[in-house]
Structure formats: structure tokens, C-alpha cells
Symmetry: C2
Subunit: 308 residues, 2 copies
Amino acid sequence: MTQVYDKVALIGLGLIAGSMAHAIRDGGLAGRVTGYARSQATRDTAREIGLCEVCDTAALAVAGADLVVLAVPVGAMAEVMAEIAPHLAPGATITDVGSVKQSVIDAVAPCLPAGVHFIPGHPLAGTEHSGPRAGFASLFRNRWWLLTPLPDTDPEALARLDRLITAMGAKTDRMDAPHHDLVLAVTSHAPHLIAYTMVGVADHLRRVSGEEVIQYSAAGFRDFTRIAASDPTMWRDVFLHNKEATLDILGRFTEELFVLQRAIRMGDGQQLHDYFTRTRAIRRGIIEAGQDTEAPDFGRTPGARPAG
Amino acid sequence: MTQVYDKVALIGLGLIAGSMAHAIRDGGLAGRVTGYARSQATRDTAREIGLCEVCDTAALAVAGADLVVLAVPVGAMAEVMAEIAPHLAPGATITDVGSVKQSVIDAVAPCLPAGVHFIPGHPLAGTEHSGPRAGFASLFRNRWWLLTPLPDTDPEALARLDRLITAMGAKTDRMDAPHHDLVLAVTSHAPHLIAYTMVGVADHLRRVSGEEVIQYSAAGFRDFTRIAASDPTMWRDVFLHNKEATLDILGRFTEELFVLQRAIRMGDGQQLHDYFTRTRAIRRGIIEAGQDTEAPDFGRTPGARPAG
């Protein structure tokens, strides 16, 4: 691997930044990696595990960096950007890893100093764990990392960021921000809210039926709880900042659910069977697109942990 | 391992029966395993892979069997039971593996010959694959297998069935049928319908946004598609046969979803954050109950396949 940047500054030290620190170090992709997190406890943990050069202010972390990565919840982007803007090196690139793109552009672009390149991004990778200890180098391997460059983005700065991302094992694609936010509302934001909701319903019932809901979760509900265990702050911000698209998809979802509920109530087995046959075909598409494994029991081998 | 039954007859040769055939043979748990499936193609496949002694009629399969396993969709139980009842050996045990218990009891009990023991059961194990090729011996390992014995169930017959299930690697628990059906509506039936619905919504949108929904499915939606790829016939029957409990849970779900949708619309971040924090705690309970792995990236290691 070749070094892509001299100094990478990670603002926010959670799962994504932590995984980037590991991947950049393992690949020798930067001369130095600095990091900053608002919470003292997070900085202490990051220092303890030797994640990167941890700085006590964001200004120190970004000083002289040719790449700055904003890896904080979407709702914190504006504040962080205001804090670091005066300290950015001329010619530096800023990117972010937020799950919503238009609102991050709205928050970051107004503070952007002249001569600094802003290239919004979103790695489609994660686990239900958060914090600096959750990161691992292989998180991005074979995952998509979407970039939503602005019309005036410098092609060289874009190509360089692309090289870093690809070197960490991810595949990049480009789209405009509003389209990104709609696609992600379907593939990620609405499913997360639905999973949170179903787990909440089960929680009410758990008080009725003791621990059985947890004990017998293997048959479907387990997958929901994994999704619904994701970081609460990050997801609060996602929903508030991708409000229109999320509410649109949830509206379609509720309509559709009512149609199926009615089919159950009326005993219309044919309608249910036809519907379930169609959804099964979509799964085949995902396997063929290489976005999941076909292994039985969902490919889970208890105890297995990706290297990193 | 010790042989538990002389002859086990599997009626229906899908994922569950196929996995039982493998597990029983690997463990030496029965002298003979016979099988029957209504479809000629399924019987041919089962013969081709040497799953068990495949018979061309259900009557032949059950003749002289001391254990008969009904492993057909819930809606087919009554018909199968009427077909085999005259051929059951005196003293034999019949069990089933249906995901709904009260309606199976209503279908099977009236046809039960005197001296035959009926012990309804439900293994909480499965993958999104179906058919005789989908089975593997380790499917039941460390999974729950719920039994819903009737008040007059013979304790010796029950203990013997329990021995077979435990020897296949599962853990057994007992509850009454209506309670089973409510617990499973929460942990399995409602989540499946919700996943089917969300995948259906995405399918409509896919026609708008090309293949992107599939391509970028890794961030939540992927888990829904896996659930929604389950066997359409099996699930149609589950919903039609556990109608009341499923509709009750879906009603609660919709109420709860509307509360969260409203919080998004009104920008109530605190309510969302509190909710997501509660659901995260439930996930911890499931990890502690040993029903899932804590490995990052959901424990998925592409290409890994459980032994068997």
C-alpha cells in the first residue's frame, strides 16, 4: 500500500472513526492519524487502546491535516465544523461519514474556508456496537462507501479520497445528496425505525410474559433486536435530519401493512402467498449482488470475529 | 448416543424434516428413518441425496413407526393426519413441528386413534431456505424446541420424545398452546409480516430507483430481506392459523409506530433517544440469554457454514 495522505484527523472516535484508524494504520495509508472526541472518557479509552494520536482539542487534531473526517452524529456536524473551520490547512479535504447527506451539506458548506475541499461521504458499514473499542480494520471490506460530491468538487481531491477509501477495502459509488437520502430511507432508515418499534412492542409484552420474549427470540425477532441496538444518538439525528424521506417511506409501509393485515383478517391466503413469493425473489437479488451470504443459519458462527 | 426410537417417519421433507434426518442419522438415534412428501419432485430429490428411506405413500412411511413427525405447513396438518391415522401403529407417538400450536391441536386431535400419543412441538430453528436440500444436522444445536403437551399426555411418551430432541442438540421447554401462540406472535409471526411488508415497499421503489435498493441493502434492509425470504406456503399458513394473536400484535405495533412517526414529524429528539435507549437494553438481554452472538458485523463471516 502507498501512503495517500500525510496527516488524517478523525473528529469523533466511535465505531467508524475507530475502524478507519485501524484500517489506515494497517495499510500504511497515512503518515499520521490524529483524533479528537468531545467526551473525555472517549479520549481516555482511545488513548488506552492506542487508537491514534489523541488530541485534547479539535483544533490541535486538524492542524496541518490534509484530510479531516467528521465522524460525529449528523446533528453535531454544524457545531464541529464551526469549531474547526479557522484551523483547517489550506488545500485540505474534509469529508464526513454521516448517514444523511443533504443536511450535512447544509450544515458544513456555509462554514467552509476558501481553498478547502468538502466531499460528503457515507460508508454503508456498521455493527450494533459503538464507541472507540468497537472499531476493527476489516469493517469496510467489500462494503459500499457512497460519495455525494458537490458540482464544484475538485476532481483531484475526489480521486485522492477515493484512493483512501478503496485502500481500506470499500467500493465507492457517487450520487447526488437528495437521491442518497431517499435510497437510504428505504434501505436503512425506515427499517431501523420499524425494528426499534417492534422491539418496543415486545418490551411492553415482556412485562406480561416474563423473559420468554427474550428467550425465544431466535425465530425472527432476534434480527430486529440487533438492528434496534444501534447507537441511539446517531439514529435520533438520522431521523430528524432525513425527516421527509423517512416519513414518506413509513407512510407507504403502513399502507402496505394494512393491506396484508386485511388479507389475514379476511383469510385471503392467495394474496399472502403471492406477496411472500415476490419478496423472496428480492432476497435472491441481494445474494446475487454480493451484499450477503447464503450460508445456512444466516451465516452465523457463534464466536467468529472478523480479523482486526 | 443411544437409539431412542426403532423407526421414525418424517411426513414432509423440507428444511426441518431434512435436518432431523441428518441429526438422527449422525447421532444413531433411530433404527430406521422413513420419509414421505406429497410432491414427486421432493421425493426424488430426497432419494437422490440419500436423506432417508423415501416412501411413495404416507401410509407406507408410518407403518410400524414408533415416532411420526408431521413436518408439513400448518394448513396441511388435518389432511395429512386423516391420511395416516388408519395406518398408525398402536402405542406410537405423533409430534409435529408447526409454528402455531392451537390450530394444529384442533386439526390433529379429532383424528387421533386410541392408544396413539400426540405431543405437539415447535423447534425455534430455521433458515430462509426450504426443501430437502436445505437441511443440516446442526440446525437445532443450542436452539429451543417448545413442546405443548395436552393435559392427558403420557409422561413416558413425553420423556422419550424429549430425549430425542435433546440428543439432536436442542433445549426443550413446555408451555400451553395458547400461550405459545401469543409468545410466537411477538417473537416471530409479527416480525415476519413486518419484514415481508418492508421488502414489498422497497420492491415498489426499486422500480423507481433501479437496482440501488438491492445494491445498498447492507445497512439494515438486508436483515429484513433474509426474514422475508422464508417459505411462502409455510408463512401463509402461520398467519391464517394464528390470526387473532398476530393481528393483536400488529395493532400494537402500528400504534407504537405512529407515536414514533409523530415524534419525527414534531422533531421530538428526546422521545426518540429515550425509546432507542430502551430497545438497546433488550438486545443486551438476548445476548445474555445466549440466543445470539455479540461478534461485530453481526457475526457474519461470508463463506462460513455450520458443520453438517
